[in-house]
Amino acid sequence: MKKKLLSVCLATSMAATLFAGCGGNTADNDKNNEPKESKDSQSTKEDKKDDTSKDEEGKVFRIYCWNDEFKGLFDTYFASEVPSDVKVEWVSTPSKDNAYQQKLDQGLLDQDKASDDDKIDMFLIEADYALKYVDSDYTLDVINDIGLTEDELSDQYQYTKDIVTDSDGKLKAVSWQATPGLFAYRRSIAKEVLGTDDPEEVQKQLSDWDKFDEVAKKMSDGGYKMLSGYDDSYRVFSNNVTKPWVDENDNIVIDDNIMKWVDQTKEYTDNGYNNKTSLWATEWSADQGPTGKVFGFFYSTWGINFTLLGNSLETPLPEGLTKTSDPDAYKAATEGNGIYGDWAVCEGPQAYYWGGSWLCAAKGTDNPTLVKQVMEKFTCDKDTMKTITLDTEDYTNSQSAMKELADDPDYGSAFLSGQNHIALFSSAAPKIDMSNCTPYDQGLNEAFQSAFKDYFNGTVTKDEALENFYKAAVVKYPNLKYK
């Protein structure tokens, strides 16, 4: 009988460890998905049990994002204002392959079931898919629910509000930036090939696509590439479309302007005017650095201060160093570092915009006051926004602050060798038109670029590339139809 007992014990313990193993694993996985702070938040959870009053706001402020751009701003300008007992948790998922949206969607769908600390309080969205969240019930009305006033918001660019206003006229998100696009070029190459590096003179030679093509030929003759990769000029064409990607009957519509991009890029590729790279690839980033032989890049505001500046340096800046935190160290670290200072910007052949991030308040947030404070600080507070622009050279969403800088004769970007890029941005910003945006933009833009890469590489014909695009599109969005 003892033996029997022993063996039963053994068998059950074996089974138990088996399942414990499984259970342990899934728990671990969950932990991995969640930020590392989950351990610390346990103590706050216990605190929460004690105070039953619901007036008290949540102790965990969760923000979903796809890179550390906003985190950097938040840590620099807002961290000191966060109540000491509130923990800020960043959940960052790369946007590639829709990963960020998948993660965010799951979080939002589980919002009701999640404990207060696990609830998403705020999340960031991009222009390409903004409508998906704006037109949903998962975002709060910034004015009526959160409590920002029309007056506070009046200094923002109108288009940054239009795109995130839902069909009922409710404003669902706010942005700290406006993202007009410009053409950033290398001064040294411009001087060598075009004989001048003056932005106005260069702009005259790039003012329309025919002239742009001529310069491309000159660059090629001079041993340089006009653009780095296939997708570089995509946004300039895709933002100047006359029809949205999808019509009212869920049919995919390819605008003529997008086909113009195809033809231009094919020509550039065949003539060797570009370097055959792809957006965000290592080679593409390298083309913006000291070893690059590429004349210029189409970039909007964030791209110049955030991406291009970083890529142009030979040695990266030390962590946490900004222009205002330590001006001398910043100057010493950047001057003569790689090709810092060799860049300039001009309007380029067509006005366009690219990207832009918006802050959304998640429905069910337990920190509405904090959300309001963050939104006020970054999107309504003129002084903060002006400081951000002075620090980071980003173009912030305050018309009056930007006008002050644009008119300031002393203001100039050291990265752009003293050029006042804010002046150019502020003349480009009012031209932004986002009326052709659809919730499908991101998926369709990505599928289109990816399908036509084969065409540029010469593996498929134009028709085959189109066919591949349609196929990929309907797999991504089963409700869409074509032809």
Partner: protein, 308 residues
């Protein structure tokens, strides 16, 4: 209880069979939870239209065999199945040849290879690397400006960088090469086990009869190795049909160029962009049936030979 105790009184011998069943419970429980239930729900899901349009749930709505019709009629599945088979064969054929050769050498008593244990370990090592990490490594090594191109250009062998990942056969070749490198060690070990199980007296008898090494290999080793070879073939085939991580990471999920390195499971994965459980389910069921048929066919042919 009374009945069993009554039985025990009668027979007086302890029965252990029930312990066999008890020890099997953990397996069947985990199998049911993690394999059987997902299998059944996948089949169930495949009859529904069920996906996410943004944050909006479409369906589930019963559509019968529509998902199957859609998948079979648009022809993509056949193209991707072809890719999968081509890439599998490109990896499997060299793999089985090299593994046979290595296994024959390692088990040949007369060769007396030195440090055999060391080499056995080394050839198995690539399998220890995570496939995705391995693919990531190849992705950077063979990128347009990567080390391979740099070396070839510096050595003066090529003038322009070879764009490995923009060309159909180089991309497929890289996938095959990676699969080959990852699995030939494993196959070698399996085949060695098979070869060592063959009675050495047979080899000696062949030698006495004056057989050359190649004859010994084809007339004695290979026929007696058949069961193991079949096992290797079936497992490798199932693994091949499920090929996913290597091409997915290497081509960044695009199956570039022109979808020629898109495998069936990558296609399945694409449907999860919109959480399209219906279409993905239908594709999974088709794959399940095809894999089942192929495995059965191989198994049956093996059994038939055994009888004969």
């Amino acid at each position: 209880m009374t009945k069993t105790s009554g039985n025990r009184k009668k027979s007086k011998c302890v029965k252990y069979t029930k312990w066999g069943y008890i020890f099997l419970i953990p397996f069947f429980l985990t199998y049911t939870i993690f394999s059987f239930i997902p299998l059944v729900t996948t089949i169930y899901n495949s009859f529904f239209e069920n996906y996410m349009l943004g944050l909006q749930q479409i369906g589930p709505r019963f559509v019968g065999l529509d998902n199957y019709k859609a998948i079979i009629s648009n022809g993509d599945m056949v193209a991707y199945a072809k890719n999968t088979i081509i890439m599998w064969l490109m990896g499997f054929i060299p793999q089985i040849i090299v593994s046979l050769l290595l296994a024959a050498w390692f088990t040949d008593i007369r060769l007396r290879l030195k440090a055999a244990g060391f080499f056995k370990t080394v050839i198995y090592l690539p399998n220890l690397i995570m496939a995705s990490a391995f693919a990531m490594l190849f992705y950077s090594i063979f990128s347009d400006q990567g080390p391979v191109n740099q070396i070839l250009m510096n050595a003066g062998i090529i003038e322009q960088p070879i764009r490995f990942l923009s060309n159909v056969w180089t991309t497929r070749g890289l996938v095959a090469l990676m699969n080959f490198m990852m699995w030939f060690g494993n196959t070698t070990i399996l085949l060695m086990a098979g070869m060592m199980g063959i009675d050495t007296a047979l080899f000696e008898a062949a030698q006495v009869d004056g057989a050359k090494p190649f004859q010994t290999f084809t007339k004695i080793t290979l026929p007696l190795l058949k069961p193991i070879l079949m096992y290797v073939l079936i497992t490798s085939m199932i693994g091949g049909i499920q090929m996913f991580d290597v091409p997915q990471i290497l081509t960044d999920g695009s199956g570039a160029p022109n979808n020629t390195s898109m495998t069936l499971i990558m296609y399945l994965n694409k449907h999860l962009y919109s959480k399209n459980y219906g279409m993905a389910g239908a594709l999974s069921v088709i794959l399940f049936i095809v894999t089942g048929i192929l495995s059965l066919a191989v198994y049956k042919s093996l059994a038939a030979q055994r009888k004969a």
